[in-house]
Subunit: 211 residues, 2 copies
DNA sequence: GCAGTAATTCACCATCTGATGAATTAAAGC
DNA sequence: GCTTTAATTCATCAGATGGTGAATTACTGC
């Protein structure tokens, strides 16, 4: 009845880092950053709390590692900016859905929960989201910078709303709808925001100038 | 150089309860529920932490008091359900904006931050939001229950996205746009979701039946 | 003006938090 | 096979957290 050796290195391949990352992504996404403790993460991962510090250095760094996207947004959205204007609404939506329904989802969820909560990072994330990702999607569209910014933020508002409703609130029937159905329902609105007529804008997709 | 008496009741009218509520709404809205401590709230209100317990009983109860809406949603949205279908998009949006740009804003902000974070309350809030408020706005519209639910959740997705972008992320130019401008930009989309043609639906606003 | 009650702060408590350093065990290098 | 290095747990820290009970002061009813 010897107590089995607990301290010290385990045999075989080491998995603690991945276990911690998995539990952390899950719990950060579920409860948010502040409401998730390192000890809770460690417990969920079946590991000593000190391991978190060993592998990541601290809570902040762990969170950063959690939201490190396994996919490059530029790669996911890159081709959208090369499509003809009238196809971008649907392409943008499908790119976003594909990204979300991929291994990146836990990271994105953790991110989304904490964009709307206000961590220090939030400002940076906003900037990346709005300036970089949207810039990619709207590259080459006609119109003044101000008009494109306005169109972009409208697109973003609908996409954020969809993500919140589908992945955070899990509101049916959005939560379990397939990509095709969502594309049919929402892509027309995105397309409208991208290239449709807007008040304060002379025409839809004007060829030259702004007035 | 006597230390002025600090303990005991203060002279004049008592304001602590309101001070605490104000600070709590502000801080809950700013940092979220979990990241806001009672002591921080008390410090901000210039009051002893024990006052929070005296007036509210605990953190949970304080939060509940914070999100107690100063306006009755039914009152704000009631008349929307009585308008002809083709006017409801704009009316709904304006009702929401009016509610937000009112003394209720801090409470709503605290609420929104913690709907997307996941407190225990969240499920209840979702239910109230989706089933009750949307039900009011969609009362009397034609179509099957399933279709109305789908239209409703689409409407909600756009409105949530707008609220998040405008009030949480403060993304320009949405954040500082006036009601008229927002109505012109977004009401058509809400109207489209409410009564426009949707895939899986025979026609727009069918008069009778569903197929 | 005296008694009761309400408002306020203080001094604590148990618990949890993120974090550190040492001890222990296994793997890797040679 | 011995040494070095990496992985793991333990014991522990200082500080913050939500919460409680008593002491102190002012207002209120009579």
């Amino acid at each position: 009845m010897r107590t089995p050796p607990q301290r010290g290195r385990r045999q075989g391949r080491t998995t603690s880092r991945e276990l911690i990352l998995g539990s952390a992504r899950k719990l950060f996404a579920e409860h948010g950053y502040a409401a998730t403790s390192l000890r809770e993460i460690a417990r969920d991962a079946g590991v000593d709390p000190a391991m978190v510090h060993h592998w990541f250095g601290g809570k902040e760094e762990l969170f950063n590692a959690c939201v490190e996207l396994p996919a490059d947004p530029a790669q996911v959205l890159g081709h959208v900016g090369e499509l003809p204007a009238e196809l971008r609404g649907e392409a943008l939506l499908r790119a976003l859905l594909t990204l979300w329904d991929s291994p990146a989802q836990p990271a994105l969820l953790a991110l989304l929960r904490n964009v709307t909560g206000s961590k220090a990072q939030a400002a940076l994330i906003r900037q990346v989201l709005f300036k970089r990702m949207l810039a990619l999607a709207m590259a080459g569209l006609p119109g003044s910078a101000a008009e494109l910014e306005r169109r972009g933020v409208l697109v973003a508002s609908q996409m954020i709303g969809l993500m919140v409703a589908r992945y955070l609130l899990r509101a049916e029937p959005l939560a379990s709808a397939g990509h095709d159905e969502l594309a049919a329902l929402i892509a027309p609105v995105l397309q409208h925001y991208l290239t449709g007529p807007l008040p304060g804008t002379g025409s839809a997709v004007p060829g030259t100038g702004h007035g």
